[in-house]
Symmetry: C2
Subunit: 269 residues, 2 copies
């Protein structure tokens, strides 16, 4: 299997803290880059890490809470200033285009590249992106506004003895944020290599977690276990909980191969 | 004179770099806080520095290029989540309200506090804020879009021998960014204690500087000298120039008491 890479650009929840910024991730698979969510500061972190945007053509936005999309206008405007000419595809709830278009018209009208909005229905599980080697499916989630995660699968051609080819698809990476515990996720991501699942709270705040439609570390670990994931990455930590090792301590007894997302970390996926 | 404080929250130009984020400053004077510009990441830096927003009631936006205002929506939404109830006043070109209102309606409609927009005319020199101890005047600047700086003055009551009072006003701090070299600034800021003047380029890039309506370090130092400022702070550095000491080397022979803005630095003003 070729190497895939996941770079954590932001793994905090809505209120930023001293160590965490709003959500954003760069998924690199088969020589392509995909941005998943773009909270405020994602562009700044990309610049600090020296991330190149030359192979980035597709941005996926899980939902329209500000901590998942307020960084988009800055990113798109900056790409315009950098004289980008390659198109950028944005997959998101249809409201995003309505909100962004006036800002793009005002701040970024002299750009040389096209921005193509692909409205998605977060309530429906479907393939929204597909090329010869990578596909992306929506994962309907349970949150206060229409929200979906994204499943990245890789397709490889394997030569058979008779010279013909088999196409083998592997579920490489699933992003599930933001969501309350939801068993509907499980059949979609079943057998996934790496699962990022939000873990905003701990079981001690389980009531609060349900109220605001988020998950605890135990919820995340239970999903990973039931889906037969190989590895679980926790993130989207509440600003209330400073010691992130508490999330790990809660998840590991349920699902041992759990690690913590931290900003600037790179995971193999 | 009571102490005033200037905290640099961002001092880069439009393209962020490894060490600089877009513009933002916190001015603290007579127990009040004022935010000047709010580029992307300003909220995150405020959180990292532990800046409290309890005394922040007034935000001044110099112009509507994204690197001076894209952080506003995240800041205002976060204050809503923090259950702020005190009003927030925003002084800016009237287009800002048109651009922000739909975002506020969508992302921040359940907030408990009022946002009051004060449209300003950046082409006119006038007092836009005044209380018993602090006033703020616009400083018309020369840039690609309507832009003004801000002059913060302090008024002190001084008791005379006959028991009556004199009111003495001191020009404490002037913010001039973004602007091409402009002598019209000089009479307005004459005698100011501290001047922050943008210095996007060096004289070696003077042509480019004029083209995009920015200043060089030498331009900034010349303004400081002609205005009889006590101290000059340089900032808004181009991403092209990594070694900021070059700005200092260019400015000092013209105006010796020059220092470099860097993020997270606090200056007495």
């Amino acid at each position: 299997m070729s190497n895939g890479k996941l770079t954590i650009l932001g793994c905090g929840s809505a209120k930023p803290t001293k160590t965490t910024s709003p959500s954003g991730q760069l998924v690199e698979l088969r020589d392509k880059s995909f941005l998943v969510d773009c909270g405020e500061g994602v562009l700044l972190t990309m610049q600090r890490l020296g991330v190149h945007t030359g192979r980035l053509y597709n941005i996926f936005i899980s939902h329209l809470h500000g901590d998942h999309c307020f960084g988009l206008i800055g990113l798109l405007t900056t790409l315009g200033m950098l004289k980008r000419t390659q198109p950028m595809h944005i997959y998101a709830h249809p409201d995003l285009e309505k909100l962004l278009q006036p800002l793009l018209d005002y701040h970024c009208n002299d750009r040389l590249y096209d921005i193509i909005f692909h409205p998605i229905n977060p309530r429906k599980h479907e393939v929204i992106y597909e090329d010869r080697t990578v596909s992306v499916e929506t994962i309907p989630l349970k949150h206060g506004v229409p929200t979906c995660g994204f499943l990245f699968s890789e397709t490889r051609r394997i030569k058979k003895e008779d010279g013909s080819f088999d196409h083998v698809t592997t579920k490489r990476y699933a992003y599930c944020s933001d969501t309350q515990y939801s068993e509907k996720v499980i059949p979609i991501i079943e057998g996934v290599k790496t699962l990022y699942h939000e873990s905003t709270f701990l079981q001690s705040l389980a009531e609060r977690s349900k109220e605001v439609m988020h998950s605890t570390a135990a919820d995340a670990a239970t999903v990973a276990k039931k889906a037969g994931a190989e590895k679980l990455i926790l993130g989207h930590y509440s600003a209330r909980i400073e010691d992130h090792s508490l999330f790990l301590n809660e998840a590991k007894p349920i699902f041992d191969n759990t690690v913590l997302a931290e900003e600037n970390l790179v995971f193999e996926i």
